[in-house]
Symmetry: C2
Subunit: 144 residues, 2 copies
Amino acid sequence: MLSKKTKYGIKALAFIASREDKKPVQTSEIAKSENISLKFLESILLSLRKSGFLGSKKGKGGGYYLIQEPEKIKMTSVVRVLEGPIAMVPCVSLNYYEKCNDCPDEATCSVHALMIQVRDSTLNVLGGNTLSDLARVKKKVQPD
Amino acid sequence: MLSKKTKYGIKALAFIASREDKKPVQTSEIAKSENISLKFLESILLSLRKSGFLGSKKGKGGGYYLIQEPEKIKMTSVVRVLEGPIAMVPCVSLNYYEKCNDCPDEATCSVHALMIQVRDSTLNVLGGNTLSDLARVKKKVQPD
DNA sequence: TATTAACCTATAGGGTTGGTAGGTTATTAA
DNA sequence: TTAATAACCTACCAACCCTATAGGTTAATA
């Protein structure tokens, strides 16, 4: 299950990416538009800045802005920073690997084999989407 | 992240499925072989029985056995019973749908669009694997 | 009748999540 | 120079869930 932190973080990034101009976007504007608790969002954007996705500017007219082009930002890296491992089990995680303390042999572990397949298919989807793809969804005009 | 309950439940089912004979398997045997807390495993097998995957027999020589053929049991249904929704967000769940209270419009929600793709790819993998596939992994002979 | 093994209920420690509160620092505009 | 603005930082907490344990009851077999 995706945490709210990750969900809100992705929405915020998509919000910023969907802006035509490159002027900083205030936390309060995102919070209002996306119905996110201001203080909670503050901490999320802060961590996104610290992990290199966003730049920031203080004072009036300040806010957050993307450092890279939206086309360059894969959703794999966004999810990894916000949520942590993409794999559903640490023993099949590429970036957060951890051995199970039960399970003496991964090669004959049924869960292991299955979760590798799940991981790879998820990786394919997240790796095939960039922030600009998400921004496009956000801007999509509604048919009535 | 997969809960231990789900992980243990899958392992236990694979253990039972990998048996050639169809005699009941005791909880204690599975617990020992798979390094699972006995009491915890008891509650898991009980819920698997109540949801129709396992039958049980009390007393000496008793234990749990599969009700259906392993080839018939898709991992989607196993995961749904043990873990709950397969989707990473309730608003894209097929079996456990729930509307987000933020997010006025799913059609233009960036997270929604992305998570539908993840869900579908995960569904493909889990739906393409049965218990007999997992049992096969478990029985696989090790090359040295 | 004793043994076995499933079945049931309750409980509790630990960790995470989502959120709040209250302030400090840096930047801009008047 | 000062006021306003908005990012930044620290601390905290209530609720919830996960994992596991404890201690028994019931049904089947030998």
